[in-house]
Amino acid sequence: MSITAGLRRYSEVNDEIKETLLSKNKAVVNDVNGQRYIGCALDTGKTVEIHGTAGNDLACYLNGGRIILYGHGQDAVGNTMGGGQIIIHGHSGDALGYGMRDGEIYIRDNVCCRGGIHMKEFRSMKPVLVIGQNAGSFLGEYMAGGTIILLGLNMKRGEKLFGTHCASGMHGGKIYVRGAFPKENLSPNIKISSLTDEDKKELKKYVKNYCKYFGQDYEAVMSKPFKKLTPVTSRPYANLYTPN
């Protein structure tokens, strides 16, 4: 049995999802039209399958649960998520994965501004964000940990892999980019390097997942070279202040 969201208020829809998940491990929501907070703080072992356009703050504070969206996401998908998995068969809006601490997000197409902003890692918690197409400005802004993988698939002529101010204020984590990328859009605090064997192992694992979820040809995706973007220093503001 599935839930039909239609034009109902988000609170009603989300209450119904929570109700369903009390007795079942999976809820299917159809005809979603921008309802907010779907999958909010969803716990480990629970899955929500969404058809339509999910509203802002999809899977915020995700707590180990799994979200599969057949459609597009809006702003702040995976906001402050602490673990779990989000798979979006479409694109995503601004501030994707803001403050994300663990878990995986796979976006089939592109993401707007401030993707992966302030992602952070802690011990075994290492968040991963895989973007199939390209990203808007401020990708990985303030990034403190975790991994962003930017594949650049199906880009139109003249489109760039990422917008301006990429990795501005980044002080941890890494961004893997596939193929040509606009160096002029990178922040000055970022260095470009080749992937180590360990990096490649990590990359392959997540690219394989991406290809599996979205039916892409893994070999074709891996045929183009990847580069790694990392911050020059983990303490960008260490010498900013003088005690008074």
Binding site: Y61, A76, G99, G145, S234, Y237, Y241, P243, N244
Partner: protein, 500 residues
Amino acid sequence: MVNYIPRRFTVVRDRELCIDCGCCVRQCSNECHYFSDDGKTALVKSDNCVACHRCVDLCPTGALRIEKYICDYRDNANWTPQYQQEICRQAETGGVLLSGMGTPKPYPIYWDKILLNASQVTNPSIDPLREPMEIRTILGRKPEKITVEKKGKSTVEMPPQVIIETPIMFSAMSFGSISLNAQKSLAMAAKSLGTLFNTGEGGLHPDLADYTDCAIVQVASGRFGVHKDYLNNSRFVEIKIGQGAKPGIGGHLPGEKVNVEVSNARMIPEGSDAISPAPHHDIYSIEDLRQLIWSIKQATDNKKPVSVKIAAVHNVAAIASGCARAGADIIAIDGFRGGTGAAPTRIRDNVGIPIELALAAADQRLRDEGIRSRISLVAAGSFRCSADIVKAIALGADACYCASAPLIAMGCHMCQTCNTGKCNWGIATQRPELTKRLNPDIMHERVENLINAWNHEIKEIMGGMGINSIDSLRGNRLMLRGLGLSEKELEILGIKHAGE
């Protein structure tokens, strides 16, 4: 290297009293005391003295004294020694000036220009020693109207409320900016007093698991330590938009202060900088604020009130109105004299407005718009005594946040160097040899004593006014009179001049 700046203080040792026991040598993290080469004579090197009085207070023979180091500059009301010295500091390092605690500048303190009323003849005063006096405070959104069924039972669904036994709460101080022992002392005191402490943006350390029922947990722009259980293990959740000491900017907890324990609570790697960006990047408008408020309500099944803390800035009244309409249950307004672990000096000393004016303006605006009962107003930004709190409540506050006062109760001497991480009193430091000096089992009692004393003073003042419930004092501006204030100041404060 000559840095062109004379020292601030001189430590004076009375050789007749000193027994060379070395207590001062062990106590001073600024290394102002040391032993002579033969290890027998305690000596002084005052260069780094911050006047924290740790050595003075612990010296068993009272042999130590701190003096201001007086070194006159040529008189100049414009180029004061302070500005000259600050220029020298910046010339040397090229850095942004960083200071601790609230602004020391002599801005007007309106509490000192407001006087309280008392009953005489026409309305009897009440003696709180013998008659019940209610200072219990209930925070949270109140329903627009009450409906009851035939038997008199309310049919209104009550939004979540938080009951505190005093209008005084402890304001946000993160574990990181202060030590775990300091935070634990506040948590213990809050539990025993029936009030709340605030985690700040530092996450909740596992050692404080027993105190979640008196914890306000903060969600700030860095989202450190924020997860489902953190939000749910609290009395209410506070979204930190701004802080009075540094409106409009974020915070950087330097990697040096992120030790194992801080890293556990914040959920970031040890030694890494904890950077809180200036804005929340999911809030660029009141509509976005609404989105975050309701996401927290969704994550907590609507069981926790959500507070929004804003700094007192020029348009604070309109902003407070926006917050109320966005769904906030509590709005905390932090005035510009409020404290901080570290803030750029120029921001701390120049940005924002006093809490007295901000509170009066916001309360009035919310009343004018008919939405005052939708929210509870919490005032913050330097309450030095119980009379300040009574005045704030009469100006419209439901409750007050205090931080500096309980820190002083724990040993803080306002040396204003919290940012250095060398706090000799074990408060604003993460060095184990310093934090162990602060024993929560003792310090929580000192904090409790302070608040209990203030509670009693509040009751005395209320009793003198002939008021026996704090609800009758709230927004009761007739109990206030201004002294030496301009027409405009009186108008904003909504009070009459003394004698009127």
